[in-house]
Amino acid sequence: MATDFRQGINYGPVIAALLRKSLEGKIDWRETAEDEAYLASVRGEMTFEISRRGDACELIAKDQRGRTVFRVDEPFILPHAYWTPLDQHEADQTGDEPVSTLGHLHTVARRVAMRVDERLTSSLRLIEGL
């Protein structure tokens, strides 16, 4: 089927797949020299960098030769215009605003790269040893 270039690019499936595989622990996110920026390589063929500056999250995908294939950004907090009735219900219940898909991916990437779970366990052990 020929691509209709009049349509905008749909990054959604790639971001959703990255998020799903990250949640399954199949993507090894790494810290970088920049704060709040994390890197992952998928089979050594594509690298993905997710970064957060203020309220904006950005995902950059590069090919094997380091050329940028696409770059997409999204606010960390999902803009109100995109809320579903379920988002609205949860926001009403919890008082927390829903996080965008890139925001969610950034949170998971940070958790993997910073080894948050391991560090939480060791912190707990340290505190209990007092």
Binding site: E31, T32, A33, S41, G44, T47, R65, G66
Partner: protein
Amino acid sequence: MHMQWLWQNPGPMWQWAGLTATLAGAVSSLAAFVAAWMARGQAKRAYQAAVRLTRVTEITDLTAELLELEILVAHQNIRATTAKANHLRGRIARFLADAYDDLSEKEREELSLAREQLGKVPSIAAGRKQSDNKLADISIAIGAVSVSLGLVAGRRAAANREDRGSGD
């Protein structure tokens, strides 16, 4: 008695002969297949060894370049560090393409991560931070590169030992 019965009934005898020949054929086919498989494995290892011998860049060249890069950081020379980081990034990209078939998925991942981390050095150097902070950020990036290259170098050394152990 049994042989006598067989000679008196040639039909079953030919069936037995056919079955025996079929079984012998199957066994010899299996043996030929195993021999071909082993020869293929040996040929593949010999080819890989030949490719490694003629390769322009080796992983040990990259780790040596990394050591020089670390020395430049220790000398606090940001301009030379940036130039060296760009150079090493190019060499990693070339090695990755050159040795692609010989590398495992994990090794390719580590090399592409190392290349990306080195790509951060010029932007850190051109940033607005003070020199000390820039050097600290560059050290973090190079530390990550060191981890990735060290892992690949370890795996390559193990693979080379395995090749030598197999008698090729």
